[in-house]
Amino acid sequence: MSKQTIYINSIASTLPDTQDSPEFVPGKQVSIQEPDYKTLIPDATLRRRMSRIVRMGVATGMQCLNKFPNAPVDAILTATGYGCLGDTEKFMNTLLDNHEQMLTPTAFIQSTFNTIGAQIALLSKNHGYNNTYTHRAFSFESALLDAILLLREEEASNVLVGAIDEMTPTVYEILKRLGLWRNALAGEGANFAILSTTAIPESYAVLEGIELFNGTYSAAEIQERIHNYLVQKEEKNVTVLFPSDYKKICGEYPTAMAYAFNTCCKHLQSGEIKTPILVYNTFLGNHSFIFLKPV
């Protein structure tokens, strides 16, 4: 496998309503700015069948593709920790209400995890490799790993990678009972990026590395692990982003790392951050590092 440099050439995100650090209220639900769906998904029949997460994901994915007119992408990779919750809930409730009889087809069809990747492929007429990762907090990272492999093995030159998660009132309550909101904001979002083997004038950043690990670690152990990772990368002047830095804005959700990833890309492109960035994420025992550098 070649040590091919991987550039991030396009990004698109649904942004939380406030980009500042609002007053921290545990359990508060982060509201996001949703894009103009009618412009991005002009087919009314297609649009009306899409639930909120599908619209959010498809519109953000299409935005990301539209910002990168250079070439078609060779692969579409999506990631979701929770899946299409709204449609799943609708389908399950119909199942209960109608005693497992007379089930409506639309909610079932749209509740599958790969709906968003498939709809983006249909809308952009993309017949390439299409895969969806549903590995809890490693979903986005797994899609990113697949993209790295495709690019480094020269099976692809441009790959669309995205992560989508939604919060519904039912899941909010379930996670509240499990105590997830004791020290966290409830988040959701859609974040997409195009990874390429060639730089363009608008390139945001270079993806330098990714590491995943499981288990329970103290803050000191995580610090040590970050230190060892940076020693191995031979980097000293690095900005380290911890979950508390970005989750106070985007909230907690399995693919919050994708929001941090896009935010860092933006800061690296604008020059707001001039050093390489190591982003650390943790969610229910899953831990990950993503290492980004300026172009």
Binding site: A44, T45, R47, R48, R49, M102, T104, P105, T106, I109
Partner: protein, 86 residues
């Protein structure tokens, strides 16, 4: 009949997620399927079959009749009036 038509329009809007369409905008005799009318398709037809079965206890025994029954809100209402079991 008028009450049934209004009820049907509301059910169609809800089940088919016809965003931005009000019951008043659906003409009683306008075709439901195809470009000339509401632009519904075969998946919508499945949803309508379920509305008939769930809300009115009607099972369409002969699929060949579907084209006529599903032509418009009015033809649907006529069929329901003649065949409803609940």
């Amino acid at each position: 009949m008028e009450q049934l038509i209004q009820e049907l329009k509301a059910s169609l809007i809800e089940a088919l997620n016809l965003e931005d369409i009000t019951p008043e905008e659906i003409e009683n005799n306008a075709p439901l399927f195809g470009e000339a009318g509401l632009g519904l398709d075969s998946i919508d037809a499945l949803e309508i079959i379920l509305i008939l079965e769930r809300n009115y206890g009607i099972r369409i025994a002969n699929p060949a009749e579907g084209k006529e029954i599903f032509y418009s809100v009015q033809t649907l209402a006529d069929y329901i009036t003649a065949n409803r079991k609940q």
